[in-house]
Symmetry: C2
Subunit: 440 residues, 2 copies
Amino acid sequence: MTASDWAGFFADAAALDREAYLFLEYYLECSGDPELAAAHFCSEQSTAQWRRVGFDEDLRPQFGARVVDLEIIESGRRAFSYGVGSAQHAPVTACRIRIAHPHGNFGPRLPNLLSAICGEGTFFSPSAPIVKLLDIEFPDSYLAHFQGPQFGVAGLRDLLQVYDRPIFFGVIKPNIGLPPEAFSELGHESWLGGLDIAKDDEMLADTDWCPLDRRAELLGAARQRAEAATGVPKMYLANITDEVDQLIALHDRAIERGANALLINAMPTGLSAVRMLRRHARVPLMAHFPFIAPFARLAHFGVHTRVFTKLQRLAGFDVIIMPGFGPRMHMDDDEVRACAAACLEPMGPIKPSLPVPGGSDWAGTLRPLYEKLGTVDFGFVPGRGVFGHPLGPRAGAASIRQAWDAIVAGETLEACAARHPELSTALAAFGQPSHAGGQG
Amino acid sequence: MTASDWAGFFADAAALDREAYLFLEYYLECSGDPELAAAHFCSEQSTAQWRRVGFDEDLRPQFGARVVDLEIIESGRRAFSYGVGSAQHAPVTACRIRIAHPHGNFGPRLPNLLSAICGEGTFFSPSAPIVKLLDIEFPDSYLAHFQGPQFGVAGLRDLLQVYDRPIFFGVIKPNIGLPPEAFSELGHESWLGGLDIAKDDEMLADTDWCPLDRRAELLGAARQRAEAATGVPKMYLANITDEVDQLIALHDRAIERGANALLINAMPTGLSAVRMLRRHARVPLMAHFPFIAPFARLAHFGVHTRVFTKLQRLAGFDVIIMPGFGPRMHMDDDEVRACAAACLEPMGPIKPSLPVPGGSDWAGTLRPLYEKLGTVDFGFVPGRGVFGHPLGPRAGAASIRQAWDAIVAGETLEACAARHPELSTALAAFGQPSHAGGQG
């Protein structure tokens, strides 16, 4: 590109029709001139070759992505952060760029959106081998094409009749290997102890040793017994993660038999398949997070979890389970908060999703989680903290509810535990530092 | 876990029923005892909590993943490679582990496979924040559930009647912004010049400014004119990347109108959706590679491109376009060769896929690519090298064929160019070092 060529990839944001563009924020490390690298980056994302040979035309005004802001974070570095690529004797510059990308290039389609914002144009732009997509903003004109969550936080609260506290989930464990009969009994116990939602592990599929039909039937019945016994609504969250062409049928089979919420592993199944399921769904859809860390964990490369959280909300998940606080999950506190905010903040006509930051939770991690989030609009999802409780899952679930009661009453966990054997047993079992290496 | 607990996650590979397991190879950096970390890693991938409270049971013999080999690469490091996680005063060990994972835990389902091999269990195992999935091997009992490519390399060659040379692709450019009429004219010219397959860019969708129906109609007609003019079969590779629930309809509409091969961006659309489309497909399916680099580029984190190549083949792609050689693509030569091998090597009943290593190609990059791969079973996919050729796409395509003729004749590109203005013009236009930063 010549200097006059690359000027075509810069614009004043104020002069653009905001409804015609997605706004994208990237971290970039480049060798050589950062303005040239930013121009190339926009070119590669959009009109890589903007005229035919022998024609006097310029496709950039309508189709070109544009740099609307370029902030140099540090220049004169001698190498890229991760030992990828060669600086070819040119110094490396770390920068943050904001790009206006015309969504009319591809339309309101999730696979094409992903191809545009984290595809070849993004990760193979000349002299910029280190890239992280940090954030995305959608204009209302784009959001209008998406349904988003069907129930959202308010709808989920209505279904559960729970308004003033977090939603209490539990991952039924052992997660792999139990027959439906034993598995459903664990779920039943956890509801009686106070869980709102007992869930399948994200690894549990429709297998011959624990078929979904039978599981949904037994857990559906157990749920109804628990509802009758406790007088409050309960949910069985069945994992229907499976091949895309099975999702609709599995949805129908699971809810006919008694599941009343469905789990789908977002990334392995694909966001577009979730959007398809959302059109058909009659119950809340909940996301789990396998295959996100491989492209999101490193500070300066890949795609920020906030972006993927927004996309899961857009695809129609009512609940988004995500890596939470604590060293085990390798997310810094700001990142977890950013993901929770991405679930709850205004997003045009799209309803909020309930954030569920998880990882090695038990009664003792509830207060720090609540305090770090600063809202009751979250879900809490222990596994072993309920189902590995030494007194069993009913006591495990009770210990979670007791921990919440202590928060509401403004008393310490220890003070509350003095009156409750479930909580005191949890403290003794999980309150040790060794739990940091335990089974979540 | 106690020491006796974690012994349950080790096994002698020779003692296992090989048909019951996937074999997985991981790079791992852990703090503390690497054997304990490896045991945790297997536990988290499978039976995280292997018994109910109060029951005398052990789910590991049937359901546990097992370490079958553990190789210490380096011990005593003071930090992790990428500044993630804390070594907590324990030294870091880099190792390579081989795991036998019982596929009966989830079955022959791609979303569940991905959840198992690169999900929470893999990337959130205690004290091992740095992980890369390096390779996967499937037993025939697992492969038997998959169709794999419908045509494969041999079938594609039969369709094109090309047996003794690489397949010549070209990405029609400008890729974004042209109306179907102008776009199809470029494809027509490139076929006349000698391309086998003219393709849509991976960013081109079914938009109002270039609807797929009209594009397929015009390019289908242009293809038939080019076949009549040249006497050889040609292919129009239409990009039908779109929402999952549109794929079957777009397949039908595109091929009814004249497309005879279809492009799908594998990762953004989802492998499971590709598997669904494969069941319905009547033409070769070809993969493009957006959203793979974010989890595959770094040496010691994420998922190796070889793994994802195998999974694309398993899902049913006849052709796999992948990042190729050269500094632009940030793949070392061995990695490109490993991906090409993953397409072509024996894989039980699954047919080979044609590897197409791409990136800034033109006539001059054909010989190095051929020599590095050491086979004619590959595709060559220039963009600007054909469509940015100063004499137009017909000459651009001719320059590619001339470059191949020079290889066959054992002459230099320069000697061949002396007789061919198309090739000499390509040499003058693209043979400069500045092209390394140009538009692929």
